[in-house]
Symmetry: C2
Subunit: 349 residues, 2 copies
C-alpha cells in the first residue's frame, strides 16, 4: 500500500509500505476512505529533526473494516468506522472515566507504544479495535461527500473543540472567547454554540475562516492580536471573558488567554502547547483564581454524543474542509495548510 | 493604639499608631480581640526589602464593633465579628459570584487600594463593613478560648483550606493528597474530610502537625519529599492522587503536585506561589489533562457554610493554634513560626 512519512521539517513523502495485517487478536485492519492533515501535524512539519527512513504520520481517518482479529466483538468486516486520534482499550480505569487519551493500554497512532502506523495511508492496523473504533451506521463509501467530511471531523477536530468547551464549562448563557481560527478553533465555536453560549468572541484574522466561525455561532470577531486584541476582547466582554478556549498551542496564545480571562474564569487549552514554562503565579493565574485546564481530547468519549447530530445533518462540522488532495499529493496539502491557503485538507487515498 | 509593622525581612516591630476612626460612611471600627500570624506573613518576613517607616501587617482578626459609619446597615456597636482576609463590598459582580477576593471595590488589609491598616493591632478601620464583616451571634470576649480560636480560623486558614477542597472538587469517596502540614494544609485535610473524601494523604514531616492532621481526617502521612515522596504517594493511591491540594506555595510543592497527580486530576493551589514560571506543557499538565486551579480563598463566601459547625462545636479548627503571644511579643511569634517551633501563633492585643 501507499502511506505518508515525514522525514524531517518540511519533508513529507508518500512511499510504499507493507499492507497492514492482523497482529493481535484484538486488532482490526481498516481500509482508509478519507484521512486529513491536522494543525498539529504542522508542528513536526515545522520543527522535526531529520529522521532517517522517515516516521509514519496521520491520526485522523474514517474507513471500512477489512479484517478483524479473533477477539474483536463489536466490529465486523464491512463496517464503516470512525477512528479517534487515540488508541484506547475501552476497559481500563481511564477509558471508563472518559479519559481515553490516558488509556493504560493504548497510545497514539504512529507511536511506538501501540506499534501501529499513521492514518495518512491506504490502510491501517488498528490495535484494541473494540475500544478504539466507532461504527457509523448506514454509512458507506458512496455516502454524500459532505457527510463523510463531517464524520471525519469526529476523528479529532470536532471532538477536540467539544473537549475545549466541556472542560471550559460552557453552559447556557456563557460568555466564551475562542483563540484561533483554525479548524479546532472553529469547532470550539460550534461546540460553545451547541452548549448554549450566549456570547462567542472568535479571535482570528483570516477572513474566510472567521466568516465560517460566524456561521458556526461566533457573535463577534477580533482580528487584532497582542495588547490590542486583549483590549478589544475585554471591551466586548465587559472586562474579560469568563471562558477562554485556546486552540492554537503557541506561547503568545497563552499570553492572550491570560490577558482576556475574567477573574474566576477558565482557560481551557486544546492547542498542543509548543512551550513548556509559562507564568502561573499571583499576577496571572493565582491572584484572580483562574482555572487552567484542557489537554488532548478524549474524542472517543464524545462520539456517542456527537455522532447523532452529524448523521442527521443538524450539525455540519465538515465545512472546515476546504480542499481535497489525493494521497500522492499530500506534500502539497501540508504546504498549502502551512501557507494558510487551506484551512483543513482532506486526503483521498 | 499599638500596632504591628514590618520594616523588612526579619524585622517586625510593635509601635504606636493613631486610633482608627470612621473615614467613610461605610466603615466600621473594630477593636481586635484576637489576631494571628499567617504562614503567608512569613513570605515578606523572609524576603521583604527594607521599608523605611515600616508597613502595617496582619490580615486575620476577630473583634468587637466599636463604631459604625452612617451607611452601615448590618452591624451594630458591640457585635462580635469575623474579618475575612479580604475587604469586599458584597454587591459587585464578583462578590455576588462568591469571588470576594476579586471584589471590584475591595482589596486586602494593609493594601493601599482600600487604605486601611493591618489586623495585628489593637483596632482596625474596616472599609465596606457590611460586605466584609460577618457577625458571630452569641459570642463575646468571655467566650471560651477554644471557640474564639476556631472563629479566628474563619478569617483565613479554615476558609482557605475549604477553598482548596472546593476548587479541587472533593466529593464523597474522593482520593485527596494534601501537600503541606502548616495550618492551611491541616485545614485542607479537615475540609476534605468534611466533604466526604475517603482517602486523605497528608505530605508533611513535622510529627506534631501530621498527628493533628490525622485527627482532622488524614488516612495516611507521607514524610518523604522529592522523588521519594512522589513514589510513596503514587504507591498509596494506586498510581496517583485524583485531587492534590497544594498548601505551601514554594516551587518544589508545585513539582510535587505534578509528580503525584493522577491523569485527569486536579491540582488546587492555595499556598501563595513564590514563583512565577512553572511547567505547564505536554509532559506536565497538558498531556494527562490535569486541571490547575485555586487562588486566594474568598473566605467571605464560605462563612455562612462554615460558621454553624464552629459555633456548635462539631468542628474544632482552632486546634491549629498552639501558642498565644501578647501583641508586644509578636516579633517572637514570627520568629517561632519561622523556626517551626510554633504551628500557628495567636495574638492577644
Amino acid at each position: 500500500m501507499r502511506a505518508t512519512f515525514i522525514h524531517g521539517a518540511g519533508d513529507i513523502r508518500v512511499a510504499d509500505a507493507p499492507d497492514p495485517v492482523i497482529v493481535h487478536p484484538t486488532d482490526a485492519v481498516v481500509r482508509v476512505v478519507r484521512a486529513c492533515v491536522c494543525g498539529s501535524d504542522l508542528h513536526p512539519y515545522h520543527a522535526m529533526p531529520p529522521a532517517p527512513g522517515g516516521r509514519s504520520i496521520g491520526h485522523e481517518f474514517i474507513g471500512v473494516v477489512e479484517a478483524v482479529g479473533s477477539e474483536v466483538r463489536t466490529l465486523s468486516v464491512g463496517d464503516f468506522v470512525i477512528a479517534p486520534f487515540a488508541v484506547s482499550c475501552g476497559t481500563c480505569e481511564f477509558c471508563r472515566a472518559g479519559l481515553q487519551t490516558s488509556c493504560s493500554n493504548g497510545g497514539f497512532w504512529s507511536d511506538a507504544r501501540v506499534g501501529t502506523a499513521g492514518g495518512q495511508a491506504q490502510a491501517v492496523r488498528v490495535p484494541l479495535a473494540d475500544g478504539t473504533l466507532v461504527v457509523a451506521p448506514g454509512v458507506d463509501e458512496s455516502t454524500d461527500e459532505s457527510l463523510l467530511a463531517s464524520l471525519l471531523t469526529l476523528s479529532d477536530v470536532y471532538g477536540t473543540g467539544w473537549h475545549a468547551a466541556v472542560r471550559g464549562q460552557v453552559a447556557p448563557g456563557s460568555t466564551v472567547t475562542v483563540i484561533g481560527d483554525g479548524a479546532v478553533g472553529l469547532m470550539a465555536v460550534l461546540s460553545a454554540q451547541l452548549l448554549g453560549a450566549e456570547q462567542i468572541v472568535l479571535m482570528g484574522r483570516h477572513r474566510a475562516r472567521t466568516d465560517l466561525g460566524v456561521e458556526f455561532g461566533a457573535t463577534a470577531v477580533v482580528a487584532e492580536r497582542g495588547d490590542e486584541g486583549i483590549a478589544a476582547v475585554r471591551d466586548l466582554t465587559g472586562g474579560g471573558s469568563q471562558i477562554v478556549l485556546e486552540a492554537v498551542g503557541h506561547y503568545p496564545a497563552y499570553e492572550q488567554a491570560i490577558g482576556i480571562v475574567r477573574p474566576g474564569g477558565v482557560i481551557s487549552r486544546v492547542g498542543v502547547p509548543q512551550y513548556d514554562q509559562a507564568p502561573v503565579g499571583f499576577g496571572t493565574l493565582f491572584g484572580p483564581n483562574i482555572t487552567l485546564t484542557g489537554g488532548p481530547a478524549p474524542v472517543r468519549a464524545y462520539l456517542e454524543t456527537l455522532l447523532p447530530g452529524v448523521l442527521d445533518g443538524t450539525v455540519n462540522p465538515g465545512r472546515v474542509f476546504d480542499r481535497t488532495f489525493d494521497l500522492e499529493d499530500i506534500p502539497a496539502a501540508y504546504a498549502a495548510m502551512d501557507a494558510r491557503e487551506v484551512l483543513k485538507a482532506m486526503i483521498r487515498p
